[in-house]
Symmetry: C2
Subunit: 437 residues, 2 copies
């Protein structure tokens, strides 16, 4: 009879010791096999021990973008108090859903399309997406490859659940949308952060090749990127996908900004013949439908079913009238084109205006809805600056620190204001930077 106290004693030694994750896992797996225990048990045990090591060493978990939410609340408070604030901190377009979408939602509501539906989403929308994406990217997708989700957020959440287990390592490329790491930790998986740099043109390939290993179960990509606007060229994307294939890891490619591509043609991960891929997308950005909460994943049918099952477990299904609205959006290419053009013009303005300051380094925008300039001031504190900018100039931006601890000398500025106000906001940002230094 194994003594449970002895187990804990040994665990404590391991946790407090210095053996690396890879070594620990290898030993655990070999021993589990011998003892007739499952690989999953060994992996989860490792995850548990690493979590506890983390806790004991007092390693602080980053704040998951919660501070940005508090900041946004403060901005709203000012606005409610009658103050005018030029808001550039949001990850949400200022344009609303087009009339075609609103009408489709209302029509569906009036027709009583508000009953329980399949957790996979309705067939019409899945089929329409399969056809549209097949045509656009020259691939052959079927309805079974597509599952409709509660926004891009659940698409990512459900995908992480579908292809990894607690304790597994998931790679996030920083700077990154904070929710990735937050979701990974929330689900009991472990984050391996890969850092990219302004001076390397945000290229992740080398760092990935160095850090990704057999321990890696999933790599999350997001191009066009939030916050940098970077788009990975086809060669680099190929290198990353091959690397994932080499180590047996899944790739989750978050392509919610795919339409906001201002540099060549957008190349989707769908176009590559690797097996372990999930593409995530959303109607939120292209059609200004953030509050509808509708997105989708594309993967092999088995993974698609797993994501549907996760969605069924958490929320049964998503409203059919919302899905009918999404279907209308898909057919409203004119609105999509107009929105994409609008954001492109604004990104040019942001680039032009911010470049006027010698203290601001900004790259020509490639895609998404953001610029992520670097501030050439030693010891620059992006949070301090954000508060100062808000208080003195009534402009709000997202501090670089929200996207990874190495980005405190960056700002994320969103293309969510029209031309003239946007120029004015940039003028104020330049002024505030001068005053800061």
């Amino acid at each position: 009879m194994g003594d449970i106290r002895e187990i804990l004693k040994l665990c404590a030694e391991c946790i407090k010791g210095n053996l690396g994750e890879g070594d620990l896992l290898e030993k655990l797996l070999a021993e589990a096999r011998k003892l007739g225990l499952s690989e999953e048990f060994a992996r989860r045990l490792l995850g548990l021990m690493l979590d506890e090591r983390h806790r004991i060493r007092g390693e602080v978990t980053p704040p998951s973008g919660l501070k940005l939410r508090e900041f946004a609340s403060k901005v709203q408070e000012l606005q409610r108090g009658g103050e005018k604030v030029m808001r550039l901190e949001l990850g949400e377009p200022d344009f609303s859903a087009p009339p075609s979408v609103v009408e489709a939602a209302c029509r569906a509501l009036q027709e009583g399309l508000s009953k329980y539906g399949p957790a996979t989403g309705i067939k019409e929308l899945r089929q329409a997406l399969a056809s549209k994406l097949s045509e656009r990217f020259g691939v052959d997708l079927k309805l079974d490859n597509v599952v409709i989700t509660a926004g891009g957020t659940f698409a990512v959440y459900g995908s992480i659940e579908a292809v990894t287990k607690p304790g597994d390592e998931v790679v996030v490329i920083e700077p990154a949308w904070p929710l990735y790491a937050h979701q990974i930790r929330w689900l009991g998986r472990r984050v391996l952060a890969i850092k990219t740099r302004f001076e390397d043109d945000w290229d992740p390939v080398e760092e990935l090749q160095e850090k990704v290993s057999k321990l890696t179960k999933l790599i999350i990509l997001n191009y066009p990127n939030n916050p940098t606007g970077k788009i990975l060229d086809k060669g680099s994307l190929k290198a990353v996908l091959e690397l994932a294939e080499d180590v047996g890891a899944w790739v989750l490619s978050d392509e919610v900004y795919m339409d906001f591509c201002y540099k060549d043609r957008f190349v989707s991960t769908l176009e590559f013949p690797i097996e372990k891929k999930i593409v995530v997308n959303s109607f939120s950005k292209t059609w200004g439908m953030t509050g509808f909460r509708v997105g989708y994943i594309v993967s092999d049918p088995e993974i698609a079913m797993k994501v549907a099952r996760a969605q069924n477990t958490a929320m049964t299904c998503i409203p059919e009238f919302v899905q009918r609205a999404a279907l209308a959006a898909l057919n409203d290419e004119e609105s999509a084109r107009r929105n994409v053009e609008l954001v492109g013009e604004r990104l040019k303005i942001l680039y032009e205006e911010l470049s006027k300051s010698k203290l601001i380094e900004v790259k020509p925008p490639e895609g998404a809805m953001y610029v992520f300039p670097r501030i050439k001031i030693k010891g620059f504190d992006s949070w301090k600056f954000a508060w100062m900018l808000l208080e003195r100039k009534r402009v709000s931006i997202a501090p670089g620190a929200c996207f990874g601890e190495d980005y405190n000398n960056h700002l994320r500025i969103s293309a969510v204001l029209d031309g003239e106000p946007l120029r004015e906001a940039c003028r104020r940002i330049r002024e505030a930077i001068e005053e800061y230094s």
Copy 2:
């Protein structure tokens, strides 16, 4: 340096041994304290070992209602093929959302209320619910006690996440809506099933007193009950809540059928001054809004925030136009009253008609939308009967086996058809029962 292989060897002995959960946990907790490891680590380790024991012993996890979904798909297929099926297997009212609700949703859509919103839900709806519930149950709820969720489903899911940890024990009272156990296992918690019986009038108190222990972290209640229609009287509810308090467990009271109460006044768990309580509710049943996916939880502000955080993590927020529809529903008491009356009349018909068979024992309905009769045939197989009934008589019901393995001689029949068709369906059920025996 602790040897990780030795750990696994000892774990394997423990897993394959016969030491009970309580003993294992006690030893683990005592040792963890001595070693400076967290209680959470010890608990999660135990959960892990018990899961593995479960796997090794080949204990089969119940099918989580998936079979019922397959059955429903088959029914839909028949319907699409032009067959008329009288559907009584659904957990969904046949009435649709009232015009007031549809109009409110459309108005909100047209006003552009389709942007990101707070993960807690909009203040207006939270405040309206706090006021309404306070008045109805004589309590003093504030906006901070209420969080709007993606249906009752996420309300339960987020609540389990908020008050328990992986490895924790959660009590479910059977017969039960299969999603409870499914969610609990999905989240890595452990199910302790309490069985109630027809001949004891479905009373759970005694069995709870016997099985609930310090290991129990959460007890899920659901009255008026799906599938039995049972309503716990005030004395029994009090006894259960006191028991929970004694062992330090949380109570989650799923009150989605609270309006469908045909026996005295409905007594909510909100009325009891215990601290560790969460009440779950939904707009789905009372107003026929199943496909809107909107519900809510009521708890202390700290737990409410945790549920909101879970929702934020999984889906960012829920659509504002859906919440505006819910607000309109709350003010449409007339529709609620009409729906509740309708279901009440149908339950009476079900009781009356099913009582005509000597092979069917059915209790006078107390609440919810179901009857859960017992079939007096030795060796009765509820799944076999359901298929036979569908094939021969074109009536669909939910087999009792869906709600727990002890209920194979029961059927769940939903009050979701109008009077005359409902009588006809009951006639066919009686016939089929005669033919079965």
